[in-house]
């Protein structure tokens, strides 16, 4: 059990990396794109979502200075 937990923790660490905002932002972006895509074209949601996600991650990394 401990080995499995360690393995899962390792996988999460490998995927999430240094900044959880990036992983969370990707999930939110994809969910929004899927939802918007049921009504109108949603390709722009992906570009906007990635831009916002990176902006938030950089803002956090640079101590609140807006990128």
């Amino acid at each position: 059990m401990t080995l499995l937990r360690r393995f899962l923790a390792g996988v999460v660490e490998f995927v999430v990396g240094d900044d959880w905002i990036l992983a969370a932002g990707v999930v939110v972006t994809l969910v929004c794109a899927w939802a918007v895509g049921r009504v109108v074209a949603s390709w722009w949601v992906l570009l906007a979502g990635v831009a916002v996600t990176m902006g938030l991650a950089l803002r956090r990394a640079t101590g609140g200075q807006r990128p």
């Binding site: 995927v15 992983a23 949603s42 991650a57």
Partner: protein, 257 residues
């Protein structure tokens, strides 16, 4: 876009995607292998080359098992699921690479200094004289270093290759980088501090992010204007916005300094 193309299921433009595939695998491997070489050199110098090379061999065997095991497994997944999973993972990895590269290029994070990392590793290993036998600590450090640095490369090779049904081509790009680093490492016998690591990391970050946006988008049902040609537009948009962000952050850095 259908998943029944004779070339590969995700992209019509085979030549462009094949070139990008090899380039991404090559650049990613080059960066990670330079880091791995630094660790191996530190182990070799302090704990002996037999220990270092055994650690490298064990890590390469583990990586080979991962590639051989997961490559065919991914190819068997339904195309929609494959696009979503791989696109999402590439996007997360790409953004991580890009974030670090932007922070380094704009001066918010120090550039990778392989000489310093080498000195730190030697100090951490105790700086003892190399022994004839196998040193457990040295073996573990070499194994872990090569395995961890190689894991991202293995992931890129497997996912890029599997989604385009070209694992061999991606592996070729990675192998070329590994051979280059090993040959240069053997010749110069010291950490490769002059490799433009941040630039390579930025290129890989732009490519992974762009492919991730494209594939993950298709995975959630988005239809790209211009179909596969949109990929080139996405790459251009990501590259330009990265350059603008770096310029903006450099200005901010100068103002606050």
């Amino acid at each position: 876009m259908s998943g029944t193309l004779s070339c590969h299921p995700l992209c019509h433009d085979c030549d462009v995607s094949a070139s990008l595939l090899v380039l991404a695998a090559f650049a990613a491997s080059l960066v990670e292998m330079v880091e791995a070489l630094t660790i191996v050199l530190a182990v070799g110098v302090t704990k002996g080359w037999r220990t270092a090379l055994l650690g490298v061999a064990a890590a390469l065997a583990a990586l080979a098992i991962i590639i051989v095991g997961f490559g065919p497994l991914l190819s068997k997944l339904p195309i929609g699921v494959l696009r979503l999973i791989i696109g999402s993972l590439l996007l997360v990895f790409g953004l991580q690479w890009l974030r670090k590269a932007i922070l380094r290029a704009s001066g918010f994070k120090s550039l990778h200094d392989e000489d310093q990392i080498f000195a730190d590793e030697v100090a951490a290993l105790g700086g003892s004289t190399p022994s004839e036998g196998i040193d457990g600590q040295g073996f573990a450090v070499a194994f872990k270093g090569v395995l961890l640095e190689g894991l991202e490369v293995a992931f890129i090779v497997v996912t890029f290759g599997a989604t385009q049904h070209r694992v061999g081509l991606a592996a070729l790009g990675a192998l070329a980088a590994v051979l280059l680093v090993v040959i240069v490492g053997v010749v110069v016998h010291r950490p490769l501090a002059r490799v433009p690591e941040n630039s390579l990391k930025m290129i890989v970050g732009v490519m992974l992010t762009s492919f991730g946006i494209f594939w993950a988008g298709e995975g959630v049902g988005a239809r790209w204007p211009g179909s596969d040609a949109a990929l080139l537009g996405i790459i251009a948009a990501v590259a330009v916005s990265t350059a603008l962000t770096i310029a903006w952050l450099r200005t901010k850095q100068r103002v606050t300094a």
